[in-house]
Amino acid sequence: MKHTLSVTVDNHPGVLTRVATLFRRRGYNIDSLTVGRTEDPAISRMTIVVDGDESILEQVTKQLHKLIEVYKILDITSEPSVDRELALFKVKSDPQVRGEIMQIVDIFRAHIVDIGRKSLVIEVTGDESKISALEDSLRAFGIIEMVRTGKVAMIRGYKG
């Protein structure tokens, strides 16, 4: 099962390496990892999606806690939370299919952010399943390139 961990860490150089090294060394699989600054410039937040059963998750969490620069780890998988991912798709687009693609883009509330003679770049934000659904819909036209940011997440309500 996939778990989403929200990990608060020191905004120091090398923290990402420590976390990544820990996953590699203990043999845990990272599905996605995003990291960025927070409202406090001294602190960064990582959103890590890990694939594994309960015992693996427990070990991941405990081992992460041992890193000196990690403050807080929340497993937000089962918490009411908002999560978003951003993706960019470069799709083949001859003039005759352009209209059809634009309709799909509308349905998914995505945006076209670049138009070339034979291609479009589409930006979409949403949860994982929405992005996967858009990917499926665009595949018929020919996806030239795709990039996904990985998930960022936050618990709903006042609790942090």
């Binding site: 860490v9 020191d10 090398g14 390496t17 420590r18 090294t21 820990l22 060394r25 015992s55 427990e58 070990q59 405990k62 081992q63 806690h65 041992k66 890193l67 000196i68 620069e69 990690v70 403050y71 807080k72």
Partner: protein
């Protein structure tokens, strides 16, 4: 006050109570060595950086203080790596300082540059690269604090040469640590403590399985009290030897791959296993599916990540072992008297004693170790290398006190024993320090003979010389059809002459009757090391033995 990075470094060491460091100079640490020249911190010059790390590690093991080593950048730092990994696996408090090239050169593959913080990431509790001299006082304080608190471990501090030479106005204020994510664990969850006390009160066949965590927590007296009050037998891991008196009747010996029959049968039959400061290592448990099959498990450890890592306990307790035990003990109803469990243990002890074929015509290594025990009256500090001699030492030397057995447990580092003896003897000048070695291992850090001679350390090195890499040979005999692949090391130096060449005393012993006089003579020498080449039986094996991945109650060996 204008201070250089080096001044701040030396000041920091003094604030931490450091009086001795083990090191080796080089280009990257020239500013630091210039400071040490005029300092009253004792510096022990080793002959290879690995020796510095092991000596600092052993210094920490025998004193309980943080051991300190120092090496130059690049190869100096990478030579420490085995020693750092060794301290990490055995949870030993150590701070390793390394030189680094100047900050503008970092990342440019400069001469003697190595990314030591990157290299040591998975084998340190934490590490630092000091990029700003203003951070130096705080980092030194944090490094020592992290090394010695909670589950101890090594910390690396990488010191660029220009930072150490730089000068700043230093305000001698209280240095503030900045460790938001690091909390000190002491007391445990009271509910869990009560649950443990209840389980102990109710158990019919309880057993204590104690490890190195008891020693790092200084909890030997609490452990002895617990066992005595409830008449609970005790087995220990290799790292735990000495945490409970080896001569106490409740002691069953070491458990695991080369554990005693009584210890391993007790684990297999107990109904409550009280695991204290241990990590259920594979050399201890054998096959996890058949480990302690009838037991409920209480697991007490300071490191939450150890709980449930290998064995899921029924009652997990995260906390400092000493604190937890002192909370559990008063809640127990005293239990005297002998039960059928004690009767059973006694019969295992009688029926499966440790044993070896005693021979007049040749020297048995176990006999030599028994003699060392007898002549030192069990009061020596013993270091070992890694291999058969290490297991025989664990079996035949009865350690009554913590911090007297210094051995490489987790990493199994050949070449540990001699530099460890240097560190131990520096820490305890009055103690008898003996390195029980093999002829393979001793050659891995033999250069530290020079350090020992220079420092006039009366270390006694007892080489169990069977002209084989004995433990590997034993496995090849048992599991690879006696195909002795590259384990015959008859080509070796004359250890007596070698000792003499270093300026130490060398002796050779080939007969049982010569053992005692040689040891007695060695113990009289107080101003230099003695190396004794014991020419032991070539193909003696360590028994009992649980084959790797086997069940603890299926041991190989005479009468098992």
């Amino acid at each position: 006050m204008r201070l250089t990075g080096t001044d701040i470094f030396i000041k920091g060491l003094k604030n931490e109570g450091v009086d001795v460091i083990f090191g080796y100079p080089g280009g990257g640490v020239l500013p630091i060595y210039d400071g040490l020249y005029a300092s009253d911190i004792r510096h022990i010059l080793v002959r290879h950086e690995q020796g510095a790390a092991h000596a600092a590690d052993a210094y920490a093991r025998v004193t309980g203080k943080v051991g300190v080593c120092l090496a130059t950048s690049g190869p100096g730092a990478t030579n420490l790596v085995t020693g750092i990994a060794n301290a990490y696996m055995d949870s030993i408090p150590m701070v390793a300082f390394t030189g680094q090239v100047t900050i503008p050169l970092i990342g440019r593959d400069a001469f003697q540059e190595a990314d030591i913080t990157g290299i040591t990431l998975p084998i340190t509790k934490h590490n630092y690269l000091v990029k700003n001299i203003r951070d130096l006082p705080r980092i030194i304080k944090e490094a020592f604090f992290i090394a010695r608190t909670n589950r101890p471990g090594p910390v690396v501090v990488d010191l660029p040469k220009d930072v150490m030479a730089q000068e700043i106005d230093f305000l001698d204020d209280e240095i503030e640590m900045s460790l938001r994510g690091y909390r000190i664990l002491k007391s445990a969850n009271t509910g869990q403590v009560l649950a443990a006390a209840k389980a102990i009160d109710e158990a019919a066949r309880p057993l204590i399985y104690a490890g190195g965590g008891v020693i790092s927590s200084e909890a030997s007296s609490e452990l002895t009290e617990l066992a005595g009050k409830m008449q609970i037998p005790v087995v220990t891991t290799l790292m735990g030897l000495g945490c409970f008196p080896g001569t106490n009747p409740l002691f069953l010996g070491m458990l695991g791959m080369h554990g005693t029959g009584a210890a391993n049968y007790a684990v297999s039959e107990c109904d409550l296993l009280i695991a204290i400061g241990v990590r259920f290592d594979d050399r201890v448990t054998g096959n996890l599916n058949t480990f302690a099959p009838h037991a409920r498990v209480i697991h007490i450890d300071i490191d939450a990540a150890e709980i449930g890592k290998n064995v899921g306990p029924h009652i997990p307790i995260v906390g400092d072992v000493k604190q937890v035990l002192s909370e559990v003990i008063p809640r127990l109803k005293e239990r005297g008297g002998q039960t059928s469990w004690h009767e059973q243990l006694r019969s295992w002890k009688e029926n499966y004693p440790l044993g070896y074929e005693s021979r007049e015509d040749c020297l048995m290594p176990q006999f030599v170790i028994e003699k060392i025990y007898e002549i030192t009256e069990g009061k020596a500090i013993i270091t070992t290398e890694v291999g058969q001699h290490q297991m025989w030492t664990a079996q035949y030397y009865k350690f009554d006190k913590p911090r007297t057995f210094v051995t490489s447990g987790g990493l199994g580092t050949m070449g540990f024993g001699l530099p460890a003896a240097v560190g131990a003897q520096v820490a305890c000048p009055e103690a008898t320090v003996i390195d029980i070695a093999g002829d393979g291992s001793i050659q891995m850090n033999i250069q530290e003979m020079c350090t020992a001679v220079e420092q006039k350390l009366p270390i006694i090195i007892c080489i169990m010389n069977n002209r084989y890499l004995g433990m590997v040979r034993q496995w090849q005999e048992l599991f690879y059809d006696r195909r002795y692949s590259f384990v015959d090391i008859e080509h070796q130096p004359d250890f007596v002459k070698l000792a003499e060449a270093y300026g130490a005393v060398g002796m050779r012993v080939a007969k049982p009757s010569e053992v005692e006089p040689a040891l007695r003579k060695a113990m009289e020498i107080k101003d230099r090391p003695t190396m004794i080449d014991f020419r032991v039986e070539r193909e003696a094996n360590v028994y009992p033995m649980v084959p790797p991945g086997g069940s603890l109650n299926a041991m190989l060996g005479e009468g098992m």
